[in-house]
């Protein structure tokens, strides 16, 4: 159980970064931490202690297998996360070119 709680704590660390940091890059890092914590959580759901990889071959018909579905899901999710991070960084670079800073206190033309 403790491992799930630690994983959830990692998620909260990321959320804290997103909410409280004032630097665009640190916000992006916060989102990445949240994403990895969830990926980790998925892998832990499928893990069964003392079981082997889910490949059926001779001599391995009757042993326990780990659940392969979360691993497949996480592969998809990692790819999506890569695209999200790339887009965020691209926009952050463009923002730096326009404003000359990564500080979100100085990037606030829109409000109200």
């Amino acid at each position: 159980m403790i491992i799930y709680i630690l994983c959830f704590l990692l998620f909260l660390v990321g959320l804290y970064g997103v909410i409280s940091k004032r630097n665009l890059i640190k916000i992006i890092i916060g989102i990445a931490i949240m994403e990895y914590s969830i990926n980790l959580f998925f892998i832990m759901i499928g893990y069964i202690e003392g079981s082997s990889a889910p490949i059926i071959s001779k001599g391995f018909e009757h042993v326990n297998f780990v659940d392969p579905l979360p691993q497949a899901l996480i592969l998809t999710s990692i790819v999506i996360g890569l695209a999200t991070t790339a887009l965020l960084l691209a926009v952050a670079i463009r923002l730096y070119q326009k404003y000359g800073t990564f500080d979100i206190n100085k990037i606030r033309d829109l409000k109200g």
């Binding site: 994403e35 999200t84 109200g112």
Partner: protein, 517 residues
């Protein structure tokens, strides 16, 4: 018939891929390809609405269920999905037709159509997919292309709005992914129908749903509430929707927040989770607050598109209110007829809002296209130089404020009548009050932009009416504002709205029906 279902995703996704390669070599081909694709999708969704009844399931890969447990990825098309697909393709078609002239101002014109098709593919995918992980994947496709489209102008404001939208949208997606993990942990399946069956077997205790289920529900409401911009998650919407190119604003406000926000909330909370009174009360209260807050904040805006964006928050509140009342009645064992009436009102308003808010954003785009500003203080007297824009905008404003011959009146009326019949008098009163506020800020919009000729420099300047394609889209949308009033006629409603309402009212039938196919 079933094999037509994946076309809703394949067509726009394939088109996006082809356009990304071909657009480089042949000039303007992207405009033709994307228009043709949207026309095809529109015909396909009309075909499903008028020619078919009941729901269809397409199993990807053709794997049949083993011992009643579904293995394949399910694509489900039922009444509710058909309705949402129709509005996606309708508003999408008109928006793409409008873009043909509008995007001439951008240097990377061809990429606009690629991203637009990707967004359509994502939204269609969310609506037809029958398992929660695919909903997440398609939702990310739709959201990511909309992030890029919001920043399409690469000016200061667009980039800032897009960054804000991406951070909040990213957090929302991660909350959704976390919930999917928790649900999979609990039930061992991802298929919505199968999850629903597992949850009714395992989690139906006399004192309602368990604490764990409440936790999951709250996470889901936060995640999809962020996507749908329900209070208190609405802060990104005014920035993102006002900074995007106008046809994209029309898509975002008109369709995207409904397809990946409201639709998924409805689908999951009616058809997947066992209905519970506390959760439906939470949804209704959030809807009511966003209705009021959106209206009040819109009053003080001077930027046309920003005002329209706040108005979207308010109108989405109406939709959630209508559906939420129905949900509360169903959960507490109240009258099914009143619940059906209330849900009809909510879905009717959903259809109407996508049309008139689309129209108003296109009008705002037309004004900006000709005058170069969106600030109402700098505008005025445009009714004399832009007659088509002005008149269609007047129709849109009247429709959204709920003036009788137009569609907005009937949907608001149904919601208010249902609230009174369900004895939620305070909610009915608030709905009327917000309707009055809506009239107030749309009168402000009309007066300052189109009618106030005092000291206006635009009357003397010779600016001409917007190009043909933009004008046509606006006129068609204005006519739809009239035509959709016909949905109040029982025969028409039975074809278009009733199948969708039935899916929600008979919420428990979904899982047995889908698993039986």
């Amino acid at each position: 018939m079933n094999s037509l279902i994946p076309l809703f995703v394949i067509l726009p996704l394939g088109a996006a891929f082809i356009m990304a390669i071909m657009g480089r070599f042949i000039k303007n081909i992207n405009k033709y390809i994307s228009s043709v694709i949207m026309i095809l999708l529109f015909c396909l969704s009309l075909h499903f609405i008028f020619r078919t009844e009941g729901s269809f399931v397409y199993k990807v890969g053709g794997y049949e269920a083993v011992n009643g447990i579904p293995i394949a990825i399910y694509m489900v098309l039922d009444g509710l999905s058909k309705l949402i697909l129709l509005i996606i393709s309708l508003v999408g078609l008109l928006a793409i037709f409008y873009s043909i002239s509008y995007t001439k101002q951008y240097t990377a014109e061809r990429k606009f159509y690629v991203l637009f098709s990707l967004m359509i593919a994502g939204m269609n995918g969310v609506v037809i997919s029958g398992d929660i992980f695919n909903i997440f994947v398609f939702l990310e496709i739709a959201a990511m292309s909309s992030y890029a489209l919001v920043a399409f102008g690469v000016e200061k404001h667009q980039l800032e709005a897009s960054f804000k939208y991406q951070v909040l949208g990213g957090v929302a997606s991660l909350l959704i992914l976390l919930t999917i993990g928790l649900i999979y942990w609990n039930t061992g399946t991802l298929n919505i129908a199968d999850i629903s069956r597992q949850l009714t077997v395992n989690c139906s205790s006399p004192e309602g749903i368990s604490v764990f289920m409440k936790f999951i529900s709250i996470l889901l409401i936060s995640g999809f509430g962020l996507k749908a911009a329900i209070f208190p998650f609405h802060t990104w919407l005014p920035d993102a929707h006002s900074s995007a190119p106008s046809p994209i604003s029309a898509m975002l406000s008109g369709v995207l927040i409904k397809a990946i926000g409201i639709y998924v909330i409805l689908r999951l909370f009616f058809n997947m989770f066992p209905l519970s009174y506390e959760i439906s009360l939470t949804i209704t209260i959030l809807g009511t607050i966003s209705m009021i807050i959106g209206g009040l904040l819109a009053l003080g805006q001077w930027d046309i598109k920003r005002m329209l964006a706040y108005s979207s928050i308010s109108q989405v509140g109406y939709i959630v209110l209508g559906v939420g009342i129905g949900m509360m009645l169903l959960a507490s064992g109240g009258s099914k007829t009143i619940a059906a009436l209330s849900i009809t009102g909510g879905l009717f308003h959903l259809v109407n809002h996508s049309v008139f808010k689309g129209l108003l954003f296109l009008n705002a785009g037309a004004v900006e296209y000709r005058t170069g500003t969106r600030n109402m203080k700098k505008l005025g007297g445009l009714s004399q130089v832009l007659p088509i824009t002005s008149n269609t905008s007047l129709i849109g404003s009247l429709a959204i404020s709920g003036i009788p011959p137009f569609n907005g009146f009937f949907s608001k009326l149904i919601i208010i009548i249902a609230a009174i019949q369900a004895r939620y008098y305070a909610l009915a009163f608030l709905a009327v009050l917000v309707s009055v506020i809506t009239i107030a800020y749309f009168m402000k919009l009309q007066k300052y932009t189109f009618f106030n000729t005092d000291g206006s420099k635009w009357v003397k300047k010779k600016i001409s009416e917007v190009p043909f394609s933009m004008a046509t889209s606006m006129i068609i949308m204005a006519m739809l504002c009239f035509a959709l009033s016909l949905l109040i006629v029982p025969d028409v409603r039975a074809v278009i709205l009733k199948p969708a309402v039935d899916v929600l009212v008979n919420y428990a039938d979904y899982s047995t029906k889908i698993l039986g196919m």
